[in-house]
Symmetry: C2
Subunit: 235 residues, 2 copies
């Protein structure tokens, strides 16, 4: 079971997240008041690709994985989200279905607004809409980068770049290096980079031999991030 958060803590997290940029604590509180608290256990879904979009979320704790599925049934991972990140923001701002699925890869807490509720709030607090757009713009630019990566880089570079992005987003200092602080399988890395587990495994094994990384099942620690950067940027 998840231990519920206190309202004050929630307020604290939300106030500092990008969606609330430029809003007073007062306004922020009012906006949160219209949200519902939301808990979701590991491996369950916030929503599925193609579902009618009714809600948007801000994650308070935990990690979520954004995925798409092809007709052939292959998964593609579009990205990960953590505390402060938004899920389904795009659908609060336009009339489309969820274009991807969001899955909790650890137990998550979040707050949640109904689409119509959020639309109303955005009319009252236009800054909210502006922030939402900014967040989408950010995502858009990131996705374009990754599109470019996958179109032009070799598998080894793509994996290196994926790890570096994850470490920037979820890195946690531990002795011996920086841990990517969430469950991350070879399969996940394969789905992020458009390859398969065999290649990923071989590549990670090689890096492990060179002591650039240390990895166990579902865990990766970067020890010599610099070496990976050199590889990733081909310097």
């Amino acid at each position: 079971m998840i231990r519920p958060m206190e309202t004050a803590v929630i307020q604290e997290i939300i106030t500092r997240c990008a969606l609330m940029d430029g809003l007073t604590e007062e306004e922020c509180r009012a906006i949160v008041q219209h949200s519902r608290h939301y808990e979701i256990l590991q491996d369950r879904f916030f929503f599925h690709q193609g579902e009618d979009a009714t809600a948007m979320y801000i994650i308070l704790s935990g990690r979520a994985k954004l995925t798409q599925v092809t007709q052939a049934g292959e998964q593609v991972i579009v990205g990960y989200c953590g505390a402060g990140d938004g899920l389904g923001i795009i659908v609060a701002l336009s009339e489309i279905d969820y274009p991807l699925s969001a899955e909790a890869v650890t137990d998550c807490q979040a707050i949640c607004w109904q689409r119509d509720q959020m639309k109303a709030l955005m009319l009252t607090y236009p800054q909210l809409a502006i922030n939402g757009m900014g967040m989408i713009a950010q995502r858009f630019v990131k996705l374009q980068e990754r599109y470019r990566d996958i179109a032009t880089r070799r598998v080894e570079q793509r994996v290196a770049r994926a790890l570096l992005r994850l470490v920037r987003q979820f890195g946690k200092k531990v002795d011996g290096g920086v841990l990517i602080d969430m469950p991350l399988s070879r399969q996940d890395l394969a789905e992020m980079t458009g390859t398969n587990i065999y290649n990923v495994s071989r590549i990670l094994s090689k890096w492990e031999r060179e002591e650039w990384i240390a990895s166990q099942r579902q865990r990766v620690i970067l020890c010599k991030a610099h070496e990976l950067v050199v590889l990733a940027e081909d310097l």
Copy 2:
């Protein structure tokens, strides 16, 4: 030289474009009044990746190519735009630089708003902002699709899918099939699909032998689109 359009014609085109959905002709006229007319010759740029974003455009005629460049200097084509499509909308809605370059591949006419002007208009006509967001959402979803394609499909399928997208967007009935109505080199197709001209050339040659397409320098006509669909969707 480009033959300038009459105001009435411009109005006609703009009124029907996605940015003006749900706005009265009256409002639409007022919005257009705050724009500048803009002409740009083939091979020149609307803007470059990384430039400070000051303007957004709606294309009236012609075709524009959206590209990104990697550090290594390789180009990636993110997509094409034609009449009614917007350029740089994302930057009108958030505070970022242009994330890509937009190049006229034929002579283009467009209308153009300064970022601040457009922001002011969006405050007066909120529907304008909503439409802008919808357009970005559309693009976002499309980009995700293409990301998925490139991550999971073979080169031949990717080329087929690229051609089918282009034909849907710019197809023009001619005898013998449907022409992709703009200059389109092997190089362009390679940059759209994350491969090289040699592969594209071989693939198109093969399809030409099978009479699925007819192609000349910078031109492609789809004769048996159905066959390409079968290939593209692996049925």
